[in-house]
Symmetry: C2
Subunit: 408 residues, 2 copies
């Protein structure tokens, strides 16, 4: 791992075990490194699963496998390979996924379609089947490990392990949700971030879990960007073991459904923010609130246009309240906007209003705000009620160093 992001939380949170979930890690040796790089999560037979995957037109075989398996809704295991994305590897990539799922199915006496696989790392090199199989065998024999070990093992260019926990009360029973995630570059998840895994003991119908995850994704993973580059492998899977003893959550009318959805959304947002905090080279965590757009969808697009603008991101890196670049990014978004109604704030200070710089605004609090690590930009489009919030990081020399030096 490179040096820890300055935006990283102080420490990995305390994540409790989830009944019905066992985590083991192994050294498959997918790269020439001395670290754990294969994660195996085994799940009790009651477990259901939901997921969202990349919108890339060139997805990895893992993504295709998960999409097919998700239609069945049950899960017994998850395998995560780090160091090799197995993307763009043709039949040999597919064969590796099939070998992994067959080996686990045989060990756990389940269907291959109960086994979910995700891989992350270099694109274009088929995942070596022999290393995967040996790694799986080692993981199956290993002592169960902590969530933090698993979070470290799924990482690649990540500079810190990322995990989050939340809970909700469903019909008098507390259900717990934990998640781990990895991602740092190639982050503009159109449906999900690189690899995120959520585990809960809630008893929940897979169709409802899917709906809840899709909704949570819309305001979390789909609202972050590091570098506008959407990965071939983005996957978020949510597994529910059903051990909490709650009345089953079958649809939005079930008792506790709102609490469960709120908890899931909270967890997804925590995980999404952790990815931004580990954005390659990031020195500032940037929140962008769009209000007054013609629709929420329009607000989201304008927000992402700002969040993906290299000129806005470098201005923030330089601690420069260059709101002209924000105007530029609103203008290029292609969404309805009226220059003469735009208002922009940095922190709590309005710097432009109705298409004009606010004359004589106090620059001191703006400068002080921009020197901090948490940057807050507000843009009111002045046209309607549409709103969205998106998060990104700044663009620094660190991003260039990491990505111009990373060899394929």
């Amino acid at each position: 791992m490179s040096s820890r992001s300055p935006l990283a939380p102080d420490r990995f949170p305390d994540l409790p075990p989830i009944a019905g979930v066992t985590v083991q890690v192994a050294r498959a040796g997918y790269k020439a490194w001395d670290r754990y790089d294969l994660t195996l999560v085994t799940l009790d037979p009651t477990t259901v699963v939901a997921g969202v995957t990349t919108t890339s037109k060139c997805p990895s075989p893992e993504v295709e496998w998960c999409r097919a398996a998700l239609t069945l809704g049950s899960a017994r295991a998850l395998v995560v390979n780090a160091g090799n994305a197995n993307a763009f590897t043709g039949n040999r990539g597919r064969a590796a996924v099939e070998a992994i799922t067959a080996r686990i199915a045989s060990a756990l006496d389940c269907q291959p379609s109960d086994v979910f696989v995700a891989s992350t790392g270099v694109i274009g090199v088929p995942l070596p089947i022999d290393k995967a199989e040996a790694g799986i065998d080692a993981a199956l024999q290993a002592t169960p490990c902590s969530w933090e070990d698993a979070a470290n093992t799924i990482g690649t260019t990540d500079t810190f392990a990322k995990g989050a926990v939340t809970s909700g009360v469903v019909d008098g029973r507390t259900v717990t949700l934990v998640g781990i995630i990895k991602g740092s570059g190639m982050i503009a998840p159109d449906m999900a971030t690189m690899l995120g895994f959520i585990f809960t003991d809630a008893l929940v119908d897979p169709a409802f879990l899917q709906t809840a995850l899709r909704d949570a994704n819309r305001t979390s993973f789909s609202c972050i960007t590091v570098d506008s580059d959407t990965s071939t492998s983005d996957t978020v899977l949510a597994f529910a073991t059903g051990k909490a003893g709650n009345a089953p959550l079958v649809d939005a009318e079930s008792p506790g459904a709102d609490a469960f959805r709120a908890a899931l959304s909270d967890l997804c947002l925590q995980l999404a923010h952790l990815v931004v905090r580990d954005g390659e080279g990031a020195s500032k965590f940037i929140r962008i609130d769009i209000t007054g757009a013609e629709s929420d969808r329009s607000a989201h697009r304008i927000g992402m246009s700002i969040a993906n603008s290299p000129l806005v991101k470098t201005a923030i890196a330089g601690e420069d309240a260059n709101w002209g670049r924000v105007v530029m990014a609103v203008g290029k978004a292609g969404e309805p906007a009226d220059r003469d109604r735009l208002s922009i704030r940095f922190g709590t200070t309005q710097v432009a209003h109705d298409g004009l710089a606010v004359e004589g605004y106090d620059e001191a609090p703006v400068a002080a705000h921009l020197k901090g690590q948490e940057i807050d930009i507000g843009v009111d489009i002045g046209l309607g009620d549409g709103r969205a919030t998106v998060w990104t990081c700044d663009l620094t020399h660190g991003y260039i160093s990491i990505n111009a030096d990373y060899r394929s």
Copy 2:
């Protein structure tokens, strides 16, 4: 000016005078600098004009003025202000444009609508009318200057003066076209680049000039990107004085129309390439050819997705043939693509074919190609006959330094 781009041509080309065109420059002092920053081009009364402008939803008042004036099709003067974009300045910005056009109209005894204005520089500060008026008065008194002086005067963060020349034979008469252009960052011109000006002695109907310019734009300015950020001020204007003595060009059937269009397209492409060669921080000039897409439009979008990908651009900066990132960028473009039909080459070496790395391809010529300054990437989508070529530069520490340090 910062140090000259390593991709700059050796010298400014020899641009001949265009009959009916006079160029003068002055020091308006829009910024605290000791340089010429106002350019005045006066045009004989026979002159017609065509133009393309930014698709930004937040255009500058100059862009709005030019759009309105273009509907009339005649021109007597062009004023270009450097150091202040006058964008997002509300009524005061509009007032500055009106003051400039009124002053020129009075001096030249023409209509204000015959006067075209373009401004470039900082956004959000109204252009000071007193400085503009004094600058115009000084320019009107100045000795006519060279094209190179004008090209220097319209520049801002540009590191070299950019001009190009071409000619065509129209019905037995040679017509000459010269152009000057500025631009280095905030370059993803959706209809035009930051500021480009073309002058020809051809006798041409304004409607046909507009058609020819729009077509030329489609394969030149619309096919370049430096940083994906579309400016509020992008403008390309073409002025034709009609002094060449050619039979009038009125439509595509006119004798010599093909030659004129070819010459105009050639000039636009030369100018567009110069902007890429001055991309902020650029060390490599990158050409990306897309073939086999479902349509030309789809090919263009895929090409721009690759050209705008920070991960592709940093890989080229690092001289890394990381074609996995090219696959990623194809996948995120949202256009029809089939992973298993994609083929990719660097230089003349095929590195991936039918969705797989070409086994045992010779890495030596690829490494040698990437060490050069002119990078050539080919992507065949394998679906249809759609094709496009786009140009960009790499993303380096220089871009970050320039844009994190540039103060608003």
